[in-house]
């Protein structure tokens, strides 16, 4: 029965791929780090440095909005380390008893992002109320969305929003391509976007600071390596790498 | 008046057929399946473009590849009755008949009124509201014919008009069809593989085999002197081919020698032998038959109160004998027999 043969081959292929985790040699460990999307570039550098310093460890980054990551962890996703852009998301994980002893490792703040060249001549937060401009925020459910709205509330502005993007990454993409005239993202996002996006600083009075906590998860299969990673992030070297990507000290 | 020279290359079929159909004539194309008869009809209707030749109806050329002329089916003055009738299932019989008139711009009321008159003429008035599914084979055929004639075409084409009917309905519908065809005064061209249909319905036969016309003429002429094995078989005559080997002798293509009664018409001849003229004997007979040969029974087929016994070569003919004779001779396939035919029962004609 050729159909059964085909099924057999298919199943074999799937299991072969699924075991990629353990890698070529018996000694290689893979550390799964769930990190907020805004940490993409920074943690990319951190992961590389950590791998160089720790032979036999591979770091796999799962990057998404902290709220998404939080839900995944609460549903039992196999993560070793959780680095959140938001204290409330971390608190939910701690309250569920999945980890303890989170530490703050970096801070970030909100910035206005506009396409390179600022074609709509956006000057500040007040422009977010302009109905003629195409303006985007992160969705309320994501940390950058909560922060962005807090900033606008501080400034007393009711925005005329055209879209609530699921995460900062998709918001930046639309700003970069010129589909949106302005959006509220993290300072680090603007930095990471390089020349394709320009940032407009928000006055300190209106701005809010995001505090990033990190923790090694209790259910980790590699508790030693997870703790080592957390220590690395908190170390001077880790802090320098974070600062180079625009993050502030905790 | 149809004047057609049809040259079509369609997959394995190489078709080269010339025919004419005069107004007032019913012509039947008769031939085995796959001979290309339906393709001829489709070409005349415009459903199959010609590769070579031309089609002229009523003096107007509708297809001429060399001149680049090609008129679409919808603009040709033809009516077509399809083998499966192809009545539109979602329309009533009345609306089916009215379809062609509506297509030409008639209003619904006018078209339906005309359609009703056609159905009346065909004694199908009661079927007007019925869906095609609910009609009997004969009724469906009548509706299909009425539908084709309602647009008053110059030429009526019919593709195997009776093959969709079962044996019991066939004879009755065949007679009806002949009556209806007689009421139409344009040319009528039909295709059939059934010789009885052809003979009953047509004034003239055109035999088409493997894409070529092998014989044409009135039904009587064709059946009296079949030019090919196909026609001979159809008419139930044995046909043998050979070359003259003397004044009244013929050497068959298979090698056997036969003696005929009349002088031979030419060097290449076809010999017709009626099955009833072939006699079977257990031993070599004495007496007048000039032609006698030993052979073996190849096949036996009972047909009402006659039995057809097919003999093996070198003179492979079919003999027709009584069941009593079969029993008496103890004939089964494989039985050796002697066959005889009188010289006077062999008709030779030029091939």
């Amino acid at each position: 029965m050729p159909v059964v043969g085909l099924l057999g081959v298919g199943l074999l292929a799937v299991t072969a791929c699924a075991d990629g985790d353990d890698g070529p040699g018996a000694g290689t460990r893979t550390l799964t780090v769930f990190a907020a999307a805004s940490l993409t570039d920074a943690f990319g550098a951190v992961a590389d440095a950590f791998e160089e310093a720790n032979a036999g460890v591979t770091v796999e980054l799962n990057l998404a909005a902290s709220s998404t990551l939080r839900e995944q962890i609460l549903s039992g996703a196999p993560a070793d380390v959780f680095a959140s852009a938001d204290i409330s998301d971390m608190t939910r994980v701690l309250d569920a008893g999945l980890a303890e002893g989170a530490e703050n490792f970096a801070t970030n703040e909100v910035q206005i992002a506009v396409p390179a060249g600022n074609p709509a001549d956006v000057a500040g937060l007040a422009d977010f109320a302009d109905g003629d401009l195409l303006v985007g925020l992160c969705a309320e459910e994501a940390p950058c969305g909560r922060l962005g709205r807090a900033v606008l509330a501080n400034a007393g502005i009711t925005p005329s929003v055209d879209t609530n993007e699921p995460d900062a990454r998709s918001l930046l993409t639309k700003i970069r391509s010129g589909e949106l005239d302005a959006g509220l993202v993290y300072r680090t996002d603007v930095l990471a976007a390089g020349g394709s996006v320009q940032g407009i600083v928000i006055p300190a009075d209106d701005n809010v600071t995001a505090t990033y906590p990190i923790v090694a998860l209790g259910a980790s299969a590699h508790p030693g390596a997870a703790a080592a990673f957390v220590d690395f992030v908190l170390s001077d070297e880790g802090r320098d790498l974070l600062a180079a990507n625009g993050f502030g000290p905790p | 008046m149809l004047r057609a020279s049809i040259g079509v290359q369609l997959r394995a079929l190489d078709l080269e057929v010339d025919l004419t159909v005069g107004d007032g004539e019913v012509v039947a194309m008769l031939g085995p399946n796959g001979a290309g008869k339906t393709t001829v009809l489709r070409a005349i209707a415009g459903l199959q473009p010609l590769d070579r030749g031309h089609i002229e109806i009523g003096g107007t050329v509708f297809d001429d590849p060399r001149r680049g002329t090609y008129v679409a089916t919808a603009d040709r003055p033809i009516g077509f009755v399809f083998q499966d009738y192809l009545l539109f299932g979602r329309l009533s019989a009345l609306d089916n008949v009215a379809f062609g008139l509506r297509a030409r711009g008639a209003s619904k009321t006018d078209a339906r009124a005309a359609a009703q008159r056609w159905l009346d003429r065909f004694s199908l008035a009661g079927c007007a509201a019925a869906r095609p599914k609910a009609l009997s084979g004969g009724q469906a055929q009548g509706v299909a014919l009425a539908r084709a004639l309602a647009t008053e075409p110059g030429l009526l084409l019919l593709d195997e008009p009776l093959s969709a009917l079962d044996a019991t309905a066939r004879a009755a519908v065949r007679t009806e069809l002949r009556r209806h065809l007689d009421t139409f005064d344009g040319g009528r061209l039909l295709v059939t593989h059934d010789p009885v249909d052809a003979i009953v319905l047509a004034d003239r036969l055109v035999i088409v085999e493997a894409g070529r016309v092998t014989q044409a003429g009135t039904p009587a002429a064709v059946t009296a002197r079949p030019a090919s094995s196909y026609v001979a078989q159809l008419v139930g005559i044995n046909l043998l081919h050979g070359r003259a080997a003397g004044d009244r002798s013929v050497r068959l293509d298979t090698g056997a020698l036969l003696t005929v009664a009349d002088p031979l018409p030419g060097p290449d001849v076809a010999i017709a032998v009626r099955p009833r003229a072939v006699s079977l004997h257990r031993h070599r007979p004495e007496g007048s038959p000039r032609n006698a040969w030993a052979t073996v029974v190849a096949d036996i087929e009972a047909d009402r109160d006659r039995v057809r016994v097919t003999l093996a070569g070198p003179v492979g003919v079919t003999a027709e004998v009584t069941p009593a004779a079969v029993a008496e001779l103890g004939l089964v396939p494989g039985t050796p027999v002697w066959a005889t035919v009188k010289a006077v029962d062999l008709t030779a004609y030029e091939r």
Binding site: A65, S67, T68, R70, E71, L134, G136, A139, E140, E141, A142, V161, D162, T163, N164, E165, P166, S170, K174, S177, G178, E179 | A45, G46, L47, A72, T73, A74, D75, R76, I78, G79, F80, F82, D84, L86, F88, G89, R90, F99, G100, A103, R104, R147, A148, T151
Partner: protein, 276 residues
Amino acid sequence: MTIRDRTQGHRGQGHAQGHAPWPILVLAAAALAYLAVPFVALLQRAPWSDLGELVGQPVVRDALRLSLTTAFAATGVSLLLGIPLAWALARTRFPGRSAARALVTLPMVLPPVVGGAALLFAFGRRGLLGGPVYDSTGFLLPFSIWGVVAATTFVAMPFLVLTVESGLRAADTRYEDAAATLGASRWMIFWRITVPHATPSIIAGAVLCWARALGEFGATVTFAGNLQGRTQTMPLAVFLALESDRDAAIALSLVLIAVSLAVLLPLRDRWLATPS
């Protein structure tokens, strides 16, 4: 006597519904179970006591209204544009026909987000066509309900086109020949013969198209954005709710399932089957 009865029974059932070989039955049951289990789990997790309150919220009403409106609109556009395309692919011969068919299959193969991105490049504010249109008229597809319709049509229309194309291919063209011999114009043949004969495949294609449009997420969020009341369809609402309010997400999912079943269940087999 017994033997005759047994044969009668079999004949009455029809050979197709007789005794299927058991491995086939086992696999069929497994397939059905695989599809059913996630729904059972969803129902089991559902916040039945709060359901009424959750479902009554404006965000749910807005999302549902948008989903239904855009799904029907996308199906409408797909019928208008898709049936002629299906006819061209099935019945005509033009250079590049196989390339055209490959193009039609493309949105089904590409990740919807890629489709959304491509739509932006074409119809966005700086897009190939969208740019000039915006500059001259101020009209913009993204961030509007029209953008949702555009995105869902893009991913859903191929389902309709391919279904109708295969229906047209399988259709008996001899009836069209018959109509031609009766003098019907090509337009008349198309409306009175081809389309009615293709109705089952048109209905099946429209249903597939509608279902795909209703469930569309990636292209919509990438192209049209996400704003309650304007572009936030049910799938988007569910996706975001999963992160903040799981109960709300489940409630939304149940509403979506209920609406889909309400449309799909009443469809009778015979409307989707080809008439013999």
